[in-house]
Amino acid sequence: MPEIKTSDFSAASTKAIADPKLRRALDRVASGFHVARLQRIEEATPQVWDGWKTQAREIKAHTIEHLDYYLDLLYKNVTAAGGQLHFANDAKQANDIVSHIVRTRNIKIATKSKSMVSEELGLNPVLESLGVEVWETDLGEYIIQLAEETPSHLVAPALHKSKEDVAELFTEKLGIPYDEDIYHMAATARTVLRDKFMQADLGISGANFVVAETGTLVIITNEGNGRLCTSAPRVHIGITGMEKVIPSMQDLSIFLRLLPQSATGQRITSYVSMTTGPRRSDDEDGPEEFHLILVDNGRSRMLADPALREALYCIRCGACLNICPVYARIGGHAYGWVYPGPIGAVVSPMLVGLPQAKELPQASSLCGACREVCPVNIDIPRMLLDLRKKTAESPDRAQRSAPKSERMMARLYAKLMSSPRLLHWAVRSGRTLQRLEHLVPFSPVTKGGKWIKKAPLPLLSRWTRSRDLPVLPNKTFHELWDQGIADRPSDARDV
């Protein structure tokens, strides 16, 4: 598995917020994908769109509830089509399967079309250690591979890179003159990879969906790299998570509508490639061998937990990233592992282990925007709360997310709020302190304004490090009430 940096979340996100270049890149995504998505919903009409969402969720819910049955059916039909289906419990097992195929088939060059699961497995270094030349062929993935980085978005992996970054990278790694024209850079990638497509012995792809009824692997791409990877080399390996199975070919239409429109706002991607088994004897092209590897790698933990099971309905459209106010400020890398954004904050802790990623579920204001845009109606905020609860109540003290001081504060707050007399006393003392503070020139706490910028006492000051608190009002609601606010004429109350 690739390096897990989920425990560095605080530091990484603070650094990301301060990065103006990243901010510009993230603004571009928000305005691009999100606006196009809204146009598509208007075009379909919101009623129809909601109907699709409900239907898609029902299909996913049914399949996941009967995952064993559909995996069995899939196995039967992949085999019947002349392909091979392999199951892997974890990353190592999946990588071992690929390694076995690579060694026994004498593979020298592999082309890959975008696969988040292969990122999750850390497959590329394994292939390289076997002496295989590995080429990522999606332009974004190719850039990331050259830069030796990880994707920062589910759909646009290199979005954090500016055109100047890419131009410099191409100069450094490909030895070509610096040229920041985006069209020229895309043409360079085309030229480099064109040869590789034709030379490759192995094509590796992910899968957006896998159809149990026919044993069919479905990938959607815009560049055409997916089609080349799955049709030119003599061996094709598809790798994906076990949750990607859907029952019937006819279930696909709904997902082929929802996925591209939610992801990039396109009505459909340029290419949809469906593969069922290897090349038949009459076919003009296609691989001689077709392998499908389905991985668990922590997914059964989500399956086993009714509160988190629906995370497995995700179709990785990225809409929740594009709308998330937290993602919009910190980008994908701060999340520290393969899956960023709101859904990543649920999935990563489940895949790498909650103790290592306990800060991720905190990275949300629980505004609910992700739930609203999700094409399969996944209730992400509910799951984030569930994960927070699990961390807070963990029997192992060291695993609890909140420091002792914060828990103490929470207890104090609960006491205060449940006793009117205590609260009243606290407000009055606070106001006295506030008045005194205003007498001091350059008042350190409120800086003379309406917000508490830096609360006194180390305990409270931590809280205000990234938040402002409103100052205490001159009169509380209770005090106003006692003064007879209730007796005023109704027209005055309406103001």
Binding site: D68, T104, I143, P157, K163, M185, R194, R227, S248, D285
Partner: protein, 251 residues
């Protein structure tokens, strides 16, 4: 390489399914309600296919208009040809503009209707039909495809809903013809048109069942040119696939 004893690497299927059932917290039971679609009989599907065909018959002009509209929105250059002659004329113009020397085409029925070869050869172009035989092994055809400036194919279906051309595996139809050359032209006959993806997948399921569980090794949608927005969200056309795509609708 001889057949390997690796039919299933990794965890044996039954063991894997047992883990899944453990996670689901239950025994090996099939869905209480059988999934509606999976219980369709071939006769049911045939009946539905008949209805689809009738619906298309009744709405053909409107469907062709919708196809043209959606295809154009999806990035195709759409040309509606009144007959084979106009289609050939359009191709010749295109060849002239694109400054080509070699063209590849697939071997499909539509080329009996539209005499592409004669028209393009008369302009001094080399036209290769991608059809494997003793004289033309796969490798030499591949080279030919790579050298060509234009690939011409028919369509197995065309979807009005999305403006997509659907290609299925056939003898004489290499996927590379539509994806490798920088220009792709698809010839669409009125009888290829379907209204929606729902229609398409129903017809494919029917064929799958009629053929005793075989539907061919692939099914591809093509909708517009190859494109990317991976650098600064700027759309660039023609990354790994064609930069320019044309749909000629014969009718």
């Amino acid at each position: 390489m001889p057949a390997m004893s690796d039919q299933s690497l990794g965890v044996p299927k039954d063991e894997f399914l047992r883990f899944v059932r453990e996670a689901l917290g239950r025994e090996d039971v099939p869905p209480a309600q059988p999934y509606p679609r999976l219980t369709d009989s071939t006769t049911d599907l045939e009946q539905q296919a008949l209805e689809i065909r009738q619906k298309i018959q009744q709405n053909l002009p409107a469907l062709l208009d919708k196809l043209a509209d959606m295809a154009q929105k999806g990035g195709w250059n759409v040309f509606r040809a009144a007959g084979a002659e106009e289609a050939v004329g359009y191709l010749q113009d295109l060849a002239r503009k694109s400054d080509l020397s070699a063209v590849v085409r697939s071997a499909q029925g539509v080329f009996d209707q539209v005499p592409v070869d004669a028209a393009l050869t008369s302009m001094g172009l080399k036209v290769t039909t991608v059809l494997r035989d003793e004289a033309n092994p796969r490798e030499s055809l591949r080279e030919e495809i790579r050298r060509s400036g234009m690939g011409i194919t028919g369509a197995d279906f065309a979807l009005a809903e999305t403006g997509s051309v659907i290609v299925l595996p056939r003898k004489g139809l290499s996927r590379l013809v539509s994806v490798v050359p920088p220009v792709h032209v698809a010839l669409v006959r009125p009888e290829d048109v379907l209204e929606s993806m729902d229609d398409l997948f129903l017809l494919r399921r029917l064929e799958y069942h009629q053929q005793g569980g075989e539907m061919g090794s692939y099914l591809n949608f093509i909708t517009g040119p190859s494109r990317t927005a991976d650098i600064e969200m700027t759309i660039v056309e023609g990354v790994h696939g064609p930069k320019e795509v044309h749909m000629i609708i014969l009718g």
